[in-house]
């Protein structure tokens, strides 16, 4: 059976710097998969290549059996690929509800309409409000992102991606820098996502990773160091050396 998302021999260099070195990677349907590795390992770059924000230097990307290596970003989204950003990429001067509604409207194919008012699209509004409610943001719907605390902004990051109803969801450090209340909420939301969605999460918080993931890939300097279930990764000496060790010392 084909994977939800797969890469074969994916490479990327910026000039002399190689940040993805022959990455073969499989994300199974309905997977709960974590991608870990030290800062600068190339995790975000990997996600950028998957979504089409960056072209790979070589290699292939396959989404649900279809080669999408050269496909435009927008089309990949239509095929069910959604993502969040490590550094907030929100519509800062728009209200929270509009941040989510923009995504919902794109997915529903109504975003290009010109002659009917946006507010008459009750379905888009209702769906966006529901989504906000599940993330505990219902009361903040009318607030501009600018005026929203950082933790909640991280939740909006996720809400936008969920508004796309993705089949494959890529989360780039969703809980980084988030206070514990929202961090708990994020985990709760992730736990409650439909089981058929394949999730790839990049995360530094090992507690979260080990609680959430059924499979872990360790990336170091653009190369896959090791991949396996959490128990194996926890025991792996090399991982301790390059990554987990870092935390004990730090």
């Amino acid at each position: 059976m084909s994977a939800a998302l797969e890469t074969r021999g994916l490479c990327k260099s910026f000039g002399a710097l190689t940040v993805a070195d022959d990455i073969d990677f499989r994300l199974e349907i309905g997977a709960r998969h974590a991608l870990i590795g030290p800062n600068g390992a190339g995790k975000t770059t990997f996600v950028n290549m998957l979504t089409g924000a960056l072209p790979p230097s070589s290699g292939r990307i396959v989404l649900g059996g279809e080669d999408i290596t050269a496909m435009a970003q927008a089309k990949r989204v239509k095929r069910g690929l959604g993502r969040t950003f490590q550094i907030n990429a929100l519509f800062r001067r728009l209200a929270v509800i509009d941040n989510v509604a923009l995504a919902v409207a794109e997915r529903r194919g109504v975003a290009r309409r010109m002659l009917r008012a946006a507010s008459t699209h009750a379905d888009v509004r209702a769906e966006s409000m529901d989504l906000l409610a599940t993330l505990g943001l219902a009361e903040d719907a009318g607030i501009r992102i600018l005026d929203l605390p950082y933790g909640k902004q991280r939740l909006v990051e996720i809400a936008i991606a969920l508004g796309l109803k993705p089949r494959v969801l890529l989360l780039d450090e969703p809980a980084a820098g988030v206070p514990s209340l929202e961090s708990y909420r994020i985990l709760q939301v992730l736990d409650n996502l439909p089981k058929h969605i394949a999730i790839l999460i990049i995360e530094h918080d090992m507690d979260l990773v080990f609680r959430f993931a059924q499979r872990i890939t360790v990336l170091v300097q653009g190369e896959v160091l090791v991949e396996g279930p959490p128990e194996e990764i926890a025991k792996d000496k090399r991982v301790h050396q390059v990554y987990l060790g870092e935390q004990h010392h730090g």
């Binding site: 970003q73 519509f91 800062r92 728009l94 509604a101 923009l102 794109e106 946006a118 507010s119 699209h121």
Partner: protein, 325 residues
């Protein structure tokens, strides 16, 4: 008079205060008959500024070359009227609109692939190309002497353009009303919201699957069309076309008017030209040095201290008034 940002929870109904510009315009028609030609000019520039607000204020495209579309509309209408013997104003205006649209979509499709300085540079270069053509193709355009002999027949065969500018004023007012209605409708639509999305964060718009490039090409074309119409109007009311319709200074001036009024709020495009052109009419001819100095200083001050323009300042003071115990 808060900003018109559209969005999925914004009420699209027209508020009573939005009828104010139209009431003022009609009152001016009766009260100030000797200023109607200035009035028509202001109405045209409002339409022109509105088209600019659409791309600068809502879509976030910075351009120094919007006069290309205005100027093309002006020349097309003028050439039809003076050289091709087509004197029907509706036909002239439709041709100006079509020319603006055509140039808008062809240049937009090219320049919107780029960003920032490159885009700015391209808008400038395109306008410069048009200016050079207008300057050198003297048989068609009259070159530096300008194009005179513009003949405009009565509108719909009924309303003659009179020397007091009454017809011209009302005609411009009607066209502006139509343009405003369209722009306003669009800003409150999902399309309009997605434009502000591009302005706020184009990275994210790509990531939610929006065809960003096509959206921009579309709004750019619309804006160019409206600018073309405004250009056609200026030809019809002046019955003359000069090279300055295409100049960088005029594009800069337009930007100044819009900023002065307030960007990305529809009515900034109304307030700016009114303030600017009236002040210019009284001051610029007597004191050209002071005039430019004044505009420059004002721009610097607006950027430093009053980023919302006149309407932004009004907003701010209204909020203060209300919050006073």
């Amino acid at each position: 008079m808060s900003a018109h940002a559209g969005g999925y929870s914004a009420d699209p109904r027209i508020r009573w205060i939005e009828s104010l510009p139209w009431i003022v315009a009609i009152a001016a028609f009766f009260a100030l008959p000797e200023y109607l030609s200035l009035g028509a000019r202001i109405l045209i520039y409002i339409l022109y500024a509105l088209s600019l607000d659409l791309i600068v204020g809502y879509a976030g495209i910075i351009t120094l070359g919007h006069s290309a579309y205005f100027g093309l509309g002006a020349y097309i209408a003028g050439i039809l009227a003076a050289k091709a013997g087509i004197s029907d104003p509706m036909v002239q205006l439709a041709a100006a609109a079509a020319a603006g649209a055509l140039l808008g979509i062809s240049t937009g499709a090219i320049i919107l692939r780029t960003k920032a300085l490159t885009l700015l540079m391209l808008t400038l270069a395109i306008t410069s190309v048009l200016l050079e053509i207008a300057n050198k193709a003297t048989t068609l355009t009259g070159g530096a002497d300008g194009l005179s002999g513009v003949v405009v027949a009565p509108i719909l065969g009924l309303f003659r353009f009179d020397i007091f500018g009454k017809t011209a004023y009302l005609y411009c007012l009607l066209v502006l009303l139509l343009g405003w209605w369209l722009v306003r409708k669009m800003i409150y639509s999902p399309f309009g919201t997605s434009l502000t999305g591009v302005r706020e964060n184009s990275l994210r718009m790509h990531a939610i699957g929006a065809p960003v490039y096509w959206r921009l090409v579309l709004v750019y074309t619309l804006s160019a069309t409206i600018a073309g119409v405004a250009g056609g109007l200026i030809t019809q009311t002046n019955q003359f076309v000069g090279l300055n319709v295409l100049s960088f200074e005029s594009a800069g001036e337009l930007l100044v008017m819009l900023i002065l009024g307030g960007v990305g709020r529809i009515y900034g495009a109304f307030v700016g030209p009114v303030a600017y052109l009236i002040a210019q009419d009284f001051l610029a001819k007597q004191f050209p040095e002071y005039w430019y100095f004044g505009i420059g200083t004002m721009l610097v001050l607006v950027v430093m201290f009053a980023r919302g323009g006149i309407l932004g300042i009004l907003d701010g003071s209204l909020v203060k008034l209300r919050s006073r115990p």
